[in-house]
Amino acid sequence: MIEAKLKENNEGVLAQNNQMPVDKKAKSSNPSKVYWKVFKTSPLGISGLVILVLIIFAAIAAPILAPYDPLTQNITQRVQGISAEHWLGTDAYGRDILSRIIFGAQTSLTVGLLSVLASGVIGTAIGIFAGYKGGKFDEILMRIIESIMSIPMLLLGLMLLVALGSNMTTLVTALSIGLVPSCARIARGPALEIKESEYVKAAIASGASSFRIMVVHILPNIMGSLLVVVTLNMASAIRIEASLSFLGIGIQPPTPTWGNMIKDSLSYLTTAPSLAIFPGLALMITVIAFNLIGDTIRDASDPYIIRKRG
């Protein structure tokens, strides 16, 4: 009877293994293979990647791709519609919109990338540290994180840009601070959990330093969820940057950004709505690409979904 029970248990585990042999194996050997596998089967994920690659390409190759200089004004060609010379028309100063959109990608991606990287490193460090150390330390850090979270990123940006002046450094700093909580929270949970696990206890017993445990044991365990958060953060960073520029407090003209292009178009909404629509679409498509990728990675790392697929 006991044998039968044991068998039952063992077979339960075996049956589960059989259901998803590929996922399991790939997961233990190389997580990027799992992601690739999910991307391959997800048309939406693939389209996100393709869009993103195109946008990155456009940003890097902007000086070659853009038909005109984004800053050159041409008073004789103000607010012109779509034409053979100006594919997407011109703005109030006669600047080529397509060129400005292409150069705008540079700004958006740079701001997004810098703030996401900074917040990812800082947030993860704080989260792991808080979760691993626990106690008072954790309590205090989490209160601070909570306070930051109760100031919307847009307002945090407004506040810092007003206090320190509108420039790229302040903008990236503000966005980084705003994004830190999301990374810290995602890192803290697993850190708390893994700290209690037998293998970490064994590592401590064998004299591993705290730093080593945090980097070797805890960090790899949160990489999956961190990747999701970072990708989705990229989407928010780009959106907020555009919003701040739209409010006239972000990147200042004449540097083209999608946000300040839309802001400049406000006086021409009735006569030339395309001035607002084209940069808006560029912004939206970029954010969609990041959201698509983030969603796909989440599906790949969510054990629940893997189980369903098996």
Binding site: M1, I2, E3, A4, K5, K7, E8, N10, E11, G12, L14, A15, N18
Partner: protein, 319 residues
């Protein structure tokens, strides 16, 4: 016969790539009887229960062929709407995990009363009385107060009593109990089984007990059906099966029961494990694990033969 299951086949997967997880399952159950369905996990016993209840996780798993006759009425022909009137009223089910079978967000009274609400015309006050009556029957102390309680406020044993009360609520003709005590502590297990037997005699209900625990079978059932790899391999009265198992698999199961005073020898183990769905052995499905298997076992699948009254075996070399 209360329940007559005829040639039941159930497939996993889509039509063009279907694997049978139940293959021509036949059995019938008399009124007032307690019948066990025994087997290792993955043998199809739970799937049989879900098929009878019409609760297969479609479209992943679906009925391929066969009939389920409940007092002569074929359940497989019923629409979902008609089946809803049968479920809970004529056939009820007790699940394995009392922790998760109750909805955490509703009170006991709500979840128990629900059954009367759909299967009877009682008003809310009568339903309340009925609920208290049912909770009293399953020996839950202070039933009136328990109506307002949420599942997580009860112990596992108490929750399983609630689940039993739900199954018995409409005095169904057949109750299918799927491993009703597996998730419980040993002392609670005995209490729940006693309760089940007591209520079964009191209500004169038919119980199909699905279990892998032969001890439970010996204590509670009159008859047992042994399943292996989606097929019935042996059927008979509990005494016959325990004293003279005819199928090597049944014998293996019996031998692996630890017995008091037999401390010297090691427990018997059936070597190997249940075959994978994708790699069903040719011939008799048990042959790779069988100690008496011969060439014929590896080539041809044996039929389920009636050996004596109420006794059936699927084996070339009956013991």
């Amino acid at each position: 016969m209360v329940l007559d299951v005829k040639n039941l086949s159930v497939g996993l997967g889509t039509k063009d790539n279907q694997k049978l997880i139940l293959n021509q399952v036949n059995f019938s159950v008399k009124r007032g009887e307690t019948v066990a369905i025994v087997g290792e996990s993955g043998c199809g016993k739970s799937m049989t229960a879900l098929t009878v209840m019409g609760l297969l996780p479609e479209p992943v798993v679906s009925l391929v062929s066969g009939e389920i006759l409940l007092q002569g009425k074929n359940l497989t022909n019923l629409s979902q709407k008609e089946m809803n009137k049968v479920r809970g009223k004529d056939v009820a089910m007790i699940f394995q995990e009392p922790m998760t079978t109750l909805n955490p967000s509703f009170t006991i009274g709500n979840q128990l009363g629900e059954i009367f609400k759909i299967h009877s015309n009682l008003n809310s006050e009568e339903i309340r009385k009925k609920c208290i009556e049912m909770l009293t029957k399953v020996k839950i102390p202070d039933p009136e107060a328990k109506l307002k309680v949420y599942p997580h406020q009860l112990s596992g044993g108490m929750r399983q009593r609630v689940v039993i009360a739900m199954a018995l609520a409409c005095n169904p003709k057949v109750i299918i109990a799927d491993e009703p005590t597996t998730a419980l502590d040993v002392t609670i297990q005995a209490q729940i089984l006693d309760l089940l037997v007591e209520l079964q005699t009191q209500f004169n209900t038919t119980v199909i007990l699905i279990t892998h625990d032969l001890g439970v079978v010996a204590e509670t059932c009159q008859r047992a059906i042994v399943m292996y790899a989606g097929q019935v391999v042996e059927e008979g009265s509990v005494e016959e099966l325990f004293e003279h198992p005819q199928h090597p698999y049944t014998k293996g199961l019996m031998d692996s029961i630890p017995r008091l005073g037999d401390a010297r020898g090691k427990l018997h183990v059936i070597k190997g494990s249940v075959p994978d769905m994708d790699a069903m052995p040719q011939g008799c499905r048990f042959n790779p694990r069988c100690e008496v298997a011969t060439d014929i076992c590896r080539k041809e699948a044996p039929e389920l033969e009636i050996t004596s009254d109420g006794r059936r075996v699927r084996c070339w070399h009956k013991l």
